[in-house]
Subunit: 331 residues, 2 copies
């Protein structure tokens, strides 16, 4: 049995999802030789630390009740610097302006030779090359399946499962909020604003929806996948982005009459990275409705391969973090 | 560089596809430390053997010209018994009655402790438990991604990529011929017989289509996936099978008017294995049209994950064989 000491830095929906999934899968992890002990958890204001391993049920309950995770006033970055452990699970919120605290956390972990598993898109969409370089030069390992497509194994599928294939191009729906709004606009023949309001009521869109509907979230994910699959060193500024705010129900109906749906598609082709609404044939896997995400690669010998699943949700994202942890530490 | 000596037993469309893919990917294989040498190839009548490694271009050209692969009168099974090599690539045609020569080839290889990679469904659909047992007891490794879903990484996705997830149920479209016929019947509002004839003209359906349209092919694949994913020891006779021959264009139109497609769905749920035409919502990934195959699993923590791709084709099937070879021998 291999003992792995880990921290969870960021204890919002995804961080708590990770704690819940680790609780649920503790027996499974032990069955494959992994004894994972969370020795520190930090949220944006407080932290809790126990070098022997925290009681995750108690921490989750306490966070629910008190809104903060602990009583210690120590930042995530300080925890990475000062608490002995091997793995940083970085689940702070995405900041696409400057990478935010997540970027500092990752670089600090790499300086110390620690492994990092993250769901935080911002640092990767801005500083991919620098992060990969930093992890390599210190012998750290860096996994980020959870940054793209929630539960969908987009990165591992492309890199491992399709081994032997060259990937020629890729496209997909990377944002469930936009997919939901467009699907409902067509179903109800209702305008954008009305279906955005519905999505906000249901918790599918945020109060400030611009990150999703302007295509920023899609572009951030796309740039990460583009870098991984095509060995590019692109950043968010290299993406041409058009959102969904100017799509009308009339346009959706016209498309439907001709056998097409309109979806917000992110695509990488000939080293160009582009996000824009596009027509897709109704019987194409990219026409999936609701909040689904879709990821499609064109390969040289396997033809097109498409994967569809839940792109968001704290448990789904946590499941991607779990699969990364397993791939790092299984015997 | 690891030298791997292999035979290709069965040199029809899939076997030749493997030879073509190995030629095309030789540099890639060497770049990951695999020097794969084909030392023997057998078709149903002849064989060609060269312990130093065959010239695959010459063998492919010769097979095209002369219809047989070589001049030696030695069976595949005898090659496995007598020619020194480590890996048998078993690509003889599927026989669902008794497993055919493929079953004997696999068991012979396992007796000698050789690894086997195969596209041949018959032996696995009939004698899964026996084959797994035989491979384990001799320390052989046994990979069969190519038996299910052509280019789609159905087995590796379920077993490796989704590590940490429990798979609760699965369903899918495992036969592109049926999907094509049903898709075209709806598009043209034409009867089954007419669209079957079209599929036969296009080479999508065989002269005797019963294997596909009666659901036998779907059932064979389904039983393999059921055994792998759920640890069952089912065989073909455990599957309840209904084909597509009694579907009418009127039924397809009625379904379409209500927002559904009719697809030949194979599903495993509560240890029951079932193949039958089913209604699926038009915006569900299972409604994919044309000759596409679809495979969907319901997981405990990732929700539903669906993969769509080309289920057939010699190069696509060969690509699955290539991915299995890579997973066996990469450093």
């Amino acid at each position: 049995m291999k003992i792995i000491r880990a921290s969870i830095i960021g204890f919002g929906a995804v961080g708590q999802g990770v704690a819940n999934v680790l609780l649920e899968k503790d027996d499974y992890l032990r069955s494959i030789g992994i004894d994972l002990r969370i020795v520190a958890i930090a949220d944006s204001r407080t932290a809790v630390i126990d070098g022997k391993g925290l009681d995750l049920s108690a921490v989750i309950a306490s966070k629910k009740e008190k809104k903060v995770v602990g009583t210690e006033k120590i930042s995530g970055t300080e925890i990475i610097k000062t608490v002995d452990h091997e793995l940083v699970i970085e689940t702070t919120p995405t900041n696409i302006e400057d990478g935010g605290v997540g970027l500092a956390n990752m670089l600090t972990a790499f300086e110390k030779g620690m492994d990092v598993v993250t769901s935080n898109k911002g640092p990767l969409a801005l500083k991919y090359g620098e992060l990969i370089e930093a992890s390599k030069s210190s012998g750290s390992r860096f996994k980020f399946e959870a940054t793209v497509g929630g539960a969908m194994p987009v990165i591992n599928l492309s890199c491992d499962t399709l081994a032997g294939n060259s990937i020629l191009s890729m496209e997909g729906i990377f944002n469930g909020t936009c997919n939901y709004i467009l699907t409902r606009m067509m179903e109800e023949q209702a305008p954008y604003e009305q279906m955005l309001a519905e999505a906000q009521e249901l918790g599918i869109a945020e109060a400030d929806p611009s990150y999703d509907v302007e295509g920023i979230d899609t572009a951030s994910k796309l740039v990460i996948v583009a870098n991984v699959i095509f060995g590019m060193n692109a950043s968010y500024k290299d993406v041409t982005v058009t959102g969904i705010t100017r799509i009308t129900p009339e346009a959706l109906l016209l498309a439907d009459n001709d056998g097409y749906a309109i979806k917000l598609i992110g695509e990488v082709n000939d080293n160009k990275i582009n996000v824009a609404p596009k027509l897709v044939p109704l019987d194409n896997p990219l026409a999936a409705g609701g909040t689904l995400n879709v990821f499609s690669v064109q390969t040289d010998i396997s033809g097109p391969i498409t994967i569809t699943g839940r792109g968001a949700g704290s448990i789904e994202t946590a499941s991607a973090i779990l699969s990364d942890i397993i791939s790092l530490y299984k015997e």
